[in-house]
Amino acid sequence: MKRESVIVTNFLIDRPKQIKLFQMKIPREAENIIGIEMGLTWITGIPPVIAPPLEWALPMDIKRNLVLGELKFQSYEKANMFYTQELVINQNTDTADFTSKFFPPKAYTHQYQLNEEPIKVNGNTTILQGVYRDNFSDQFAGAYSYIIRVYVWLEAKIDQSN
């Protein structure tokens, strides 16, 4: 029988262009790493929001998304660098959505991606090396801070013969 579990790590980004190196310990029972997911909690700083027009009209234009930063993962085994993903705040959740007249979409109401990114990396790696690079200062000049949460999904074989 296979058991899926997740391990989490959080860290705070509070300086522009901050680079955070971290190691995640993979539990012994993990046979494979099967997914990576990112979460975000905003702390301070007001991200630039494009003000909606005074008179509502069906939003058809494409707005520039906010790219917060980039996460990369490296396995200590043959897989080496196996994951790169940008952390993006979607500004286009209301594109061509006629209900936005009554219910303006936000990132936390109309999420565009709910599942983890599926991958398959050997769990033998013992440690995962991660690096997160903040790039938000390219788009936003003020001070800001946020917490990144990284979820690593694992798969283990459970011996049921106790």
């Binding site: 310990k25 993979i26 012994r28 993990a30 200590y76 769990g123 033998n124 790696t125 013992t126 440690i127 090396q129």
Partner: protein
């Protein structure tokens, strides 16, 4: 411990504890601000201090390292478990380790 000595030392040490060739190596270079204290979670790993570094206190299950402490009779360059590093210099300090990670 110099890097050259560490390179010789690590394979024999890993052979002694039964890990053999099943380990990873990483080079870690920490930069600590004046007065900064960090804690590393290194259960089942080894951090070998490379080069002598002064005005720093390194503590772990394996021992202590602090060149200025007159009460220590032997300094420890190899650390494991919960390792706490405290930079008590008035300036920022660079501390280099070789991290040895036995495979799962």
């Amino acid at each position: 411990m110099t890097v050259a000595l560490a390179i010789e030392y690590i394979p024999r040490r890993m052979m002694d504890i039964g890990v053999g060739m099943n380990y990873y190596l990483r080079f870690r270079h920490f930069v600590l601000r004046a007065g900064e204290k960090i804690e590393l979670n290194a259960d089942n790993q080894f951090f070998i201090l490379v080069d002598e570094v002064s005005e720093v206190l390194i503590q772990s299950d394996f021992g202590l390292y602090d060149l200025a402490d007159p009460t220590i009779n032997e300094q420890s360059y190899e650390h494991q478990g919960t390792i706490s590093i405290y930079n008590y210099a008035p300036n920022s300090t660079h501390i280099r380790f070789i991290q040895v990670i036995p495979k799962n």
